[in-house]
């Protein structure tokens, strides 16, 4: 590590000297942020926590410092998981310098060494990112060069190895479980409106882009020939005219047998398209997506949410209230067909329905189905998804009857008076819990969900907010007959009610009490209350939050990537600040 830092400093100083007479300390700006999340766990037989398995405390923390001086910037991030909080991967356990980088960018050329976060297009072939709430970080440790040879033209190249928790980046131990390949990629983007003066003020907008990414991995398999270089390419187009925009990207990946796809040699494909229209008071977006065998990892034996080279964007509504978030869709890496329509409309002020302040309406519908997979002939018999074969064939435009997910929701957001504000939403949900969460044989979640969120401004400093939520399942509720052996499949199932009351004294204090009650669970012993009390103090950019109570089992999803959160009981402290 010391060696890395010395190399980094040498590079930084070298770049700094090349930048001319500019001093590395004069005129520089330092920024950063820190966060610590700590959970103290306690036994709580009421929600089935009879054993803490030796863990009474979990602490996740990071601190990052960035330095910018003209064309030069550099940063480090330090992380500590001592030990990691429940629900985070145990491989995170540890402490150390997780991330560092140095960048020099003068507008024509930009060079970064160290840990790189970047994305080509929508990420279908390359995206590295860090998501603290998921405990996920797939940064590429290596180098990136960006060239801008002409106005509107950007060329980019990246090269490196991805972060895998605390595993070393050396290649000497190829037989180790943490061995992963090298990733290298190039991307080109051309913005015609910037390049062609005649188009600079035009209502017509157009940009083109293309990427190629390849991973270099050693074939460690005993009985399959694993391709040691796997390439993926994509092409993208963005068009716009006035208020209408259209963007699309198509990606193709060559044979990439892996543990995720059951070692089949089929190519991967993905198509993403979005059409949108917006004007004052009205906006609409239609998105469609098809992916087939597009999991792309730098470790072909990996099966979990790590070492992803690419990113398959979800096209679902992101719910923030607790009951709608109980069932959040997780992207299926082996294939899915999805569509989403979002319409926003503001009823103008001064009309009968708009009232004095106007009324915002939003409609969203998204649905995800499986792709159709047809058997292939192998040694005289029909097989499907058999290792060592092409796996299956799939009609690009065919949609399987197997529906994974559907969410239809409508929201009204209304400022009623100077002191009252109201948001209400109704959601109709279909969630294939067997596919998404792996509860084999469990009935699909079909639920109606609603919430009412009312804020009352007591005076200029104080306000009260009340949230009332309900979730009613169509089939599974109290009285539903289940097999004793499948009882565990019914945690969090059935009807729920939730309420939250929050009192805020601006700008510093906030106090809230909340309860979630799974009153309609078919299993009597799961009909639990999840009480929490929370105090939050904010001072400038510093936030301290202390909460005590119970946390229900669930999933946390960001961008279609999810982690399971086990039920817990205890005290949680979060301290964060930035400067």
């Amino acid at each position: 590590m010391r060696k890395h830092i010395l190399v980094l400093l040498a590079l930084a100083l070298g770049i700094g000297f090349r930048a001319g007479a500019q001093s590395l300390t004069e005129g520089g700006q330092v920024s950063g942020s820190f966060q610590t999340d700590a959970q103290y766990y306690r036994l709580d037989e009421g929600i089935g926590i009879n054993d803490l398995r030796g863990k009474q405390l979990g602490i996740n923390g990071f601190g990052k410092v960035n330095y910018t001086n003209g064309d030069f910037s550099a940063g480090i991030r330090f992380e500590a998981f001592l030990p990691e909080m429940n629900g985070f991967r145990p491989e995170l356990n540890g402490v150390g310098l997780a991330n560092f980088f140095a960048t020099y960018d003068n507008g024509f050329v930009g060079v970064t060494v160290g840990d790189i976060y970047d994305q080509f297009g929508s990420g279908l072939v390359f995206r590295t990112y860090e998501e603290w709430s998921l405990g996920m970080d797939n940064a590429l440790r290596g180098a990136r060069v960006v060239l801008r040879p002409a106005q509107g033209v950007t060329l980019k190249g990246v090269y490196g190895r991805q972060r895998f928790f605390w595993a070393p980046y050396l290649e000497r131990d190829m037989d180790n479980d943490d061995y992963r390949g090298i990733v290298r990629g190039v991307d080109a983007e051309w913005d015609l409106n910037q390049s062609i003066p005649a188009l600079s003020e035009s209502q017509f907008r157009m940009s083109l882009g293309g990427s190629f990414v390849s991973k270099r991995q050693y074939d460690q398999s005993l009985f399959y020939y694993i391709p040691e270089n796997v390439g993926a390419a994509s092409a993208r187009l963005n068009l716009g005219y006035g208020r209408v925009s259209f963007s699309t990207e198509y990606a193709y990946k060559i044979n990439d047998p892996s543990a995720i796809n059951n070692f089949i040699y089929k190519e991967g494909q993905a198509l993403l398209a979005s059409l949108s229209y917006s004007q004052k008071g009205f906006g609409a977006v239609l998105q469609v997506k098809r992916t087939d065998n597009m999991s792309f990892k730098s470790m072909y034996t990996g099966k979990q949410n790590d070492l992803d080279i690419n990113f398959i964007p979800p096209i679902n509504y992101t719910h923030t209230h607790s009951l709608p978030s109980l069932y959040t869709y997780s992207t299926q890496p082996n294939g899915e067909m999805a569509a989403q329509l979002q319409i926003n409309y503001t009823i103008p002020k001064g009309t009968l329905l708009g009232g004095k302040y106007g009324t915002k309406l939003a409609f969203n519908m998204s649905q995800v189905n499986d792709i159709v997979r047809d058997s292939i002939m192998e040694n005289g018999r029909m097989v499907i998804n058999k290792p060592g074969t092409l796996g299956y064939t799939s009609n690009f435009f065919a949609i399987s009857d197997h529906r994974f997910f559907r969410d239809i929701n409508i929201e009204i957001d209304k400022k009623i008076s100077k002191d009252w504000h109201l948001t209400a939403q109704y959601i109709n949900l279909y969630y294939d819990i067997e596919t998404i969460e792996g509860h084999a044989g469990a009935p699909v979640v079909q639920a109606n969900i609603g919430f009412l969120d009312v804020t009352f401004k007591i005076n200029n400093k104080q306000s009260l907010r009340l949230e009332l939520q309900g979730l009613w399942e169509k089939e599974v509720h109290a009285g539903y007959e289940y097999e004793e052996s499948e009882m565990k499949d019914y945690q969090k199932r059935g009807d729920w009610a939730a309420a939250l009351l929050e009192y805020s004294i601006n700008p510093h204090w906030s106090f809230s009490i909340a309860d979630k009650w799974n009153y309609g669970n078919p299993v009597e012993e799961y009909r639990d209350h999840y009480f929490t009390g929370t105090v939050t103090y904010i001072h400038d950019a510093t936030r301290v939050m202390l909460s005590a109570g119970r946390q229900s089992e669930g999933v946390v999803c960001v961008g279609g990537v999810c982690r399971t959160v086990p039920a817990s009981s205890g005290v949680t402290l979060t301290v964060s600040t930035s400067f």
């Binding site: 390849s214 399959y224 052996s485």
Partner: protein
């Protein structure tokens, strides 16, 4: 500028050309590389009829067995865990011993290669079993096992005599477990996208004849010309197909749980 763009274009083409390896789809399997030696290896496949990923994992393990030697690798399907719990038409293959070996884990499929139970460091996902199997095959064989089964069709009573022959001098505390295995049982199994109602369950562990830990074979020093004999018996359940039943015996180091050798013999 044109020169720069030309150089970049050539570099990009070279990058694409060197960045893709297309495997011939008619030649995806590597030639069999026999591992020398005579030691056998037991793969315990901790599975469940309601586990959607288990059939694929089992197929992978059988492919490994096929490629590295069917006479030297044994796979036993141990149904244990939440996804093995019977429900509706799904079969019940759960056993007390299998549940003990499963050791309170919470997922399927999981594998143990030449280990009695799923313990720390010996709990493997299917994609992790290649190297341990290959390594175990290359180990020196410490014992040989001879199984003699006597089965009475009328009474369905089965007697098993196991004889253990050390292949050299040694020391330690060794136990042997005698397992009953039934092959090719047809029943319901969850598969991706639904349920296969005629799924063929291979080598299903039905129980032991001498407990989850087995019984003592040798404690202390042993010599090349020693022989150790154990006897066990049982009455075969009437629902089991005797034509498809086998006795699988393994001998293991009691301190570490590591299996030293395994043999399997049809009961009829």
């Amino acid at each position: 500028m044109n020169k720069l763009l030309s150089i970049l274009a050539v570099a990009a083409l070279l990058c694409v050309a060197s960045g893709c390896d297309q495997i011939d789809i008619n030649n995806t399997h590597k030639p069999i590389t026999p591992v020398s030696g005579s030691k056998t290896v037991l793969i315990k496949d901790f599975t469940g009829a309601r586990c959607v990923n288990c059939p694929e994992a089992a197929e992978y393990a059988h492919e490994l067995q096929h490629r590295l030697g069917e006479d030297r690798i044994f796979i036993m399907g141990v149904h244990a865990g939440f996804l093995a719990q019977p429900m509706g038409q799904f079969p019940d293959f759960i056993t007390e011993e299998g549940t003990a070996w499963y050791n309170d884990n919470s997922s399927n499929p999981l594998f143990a290669v030449d280990h009695v139970a799923l313990t720390e460091g010996n709990t493997l996902y299917v994609e992790q079993i290649d190297t341990p199997v290959s390594d175990a095959l290359a180990e020196t064989q410490l014992f040989d096992i001879n199984i003699v089964n006597t089965y009475d069709e009328a009474t369905r009573s089965l007697s098993v005599k196991n004889t253990f022959y050390p292949t050299g001098d040694g020391e330690g505390k060794y136990y042997a477990t005698v397992c009953l295995v039934e092959d090719s049982i047809v029943g319901w199994q969850t598969i991706p996208g639904g349920v296969d109602r005629e799924y063929v369950f291979r080598n299903v562990f039905r129980g032991t004849l001498n407990g989850a830990d087995g019984e003592l074979v040798s404690d202390g020093h042993f010599y090349y010309d020693d022989t150790f004999v154990t006897n066990a018996s049982m009455v075969l359940d009437t629902t089991y197909n005797a034509d498809q039943c086998y006795i699988l015996t393994y001998i293991y180091d009691y301190e570490t749980g590591k299996i030293m050798h395994t043999e399997m013999q049809k009961i009829k």
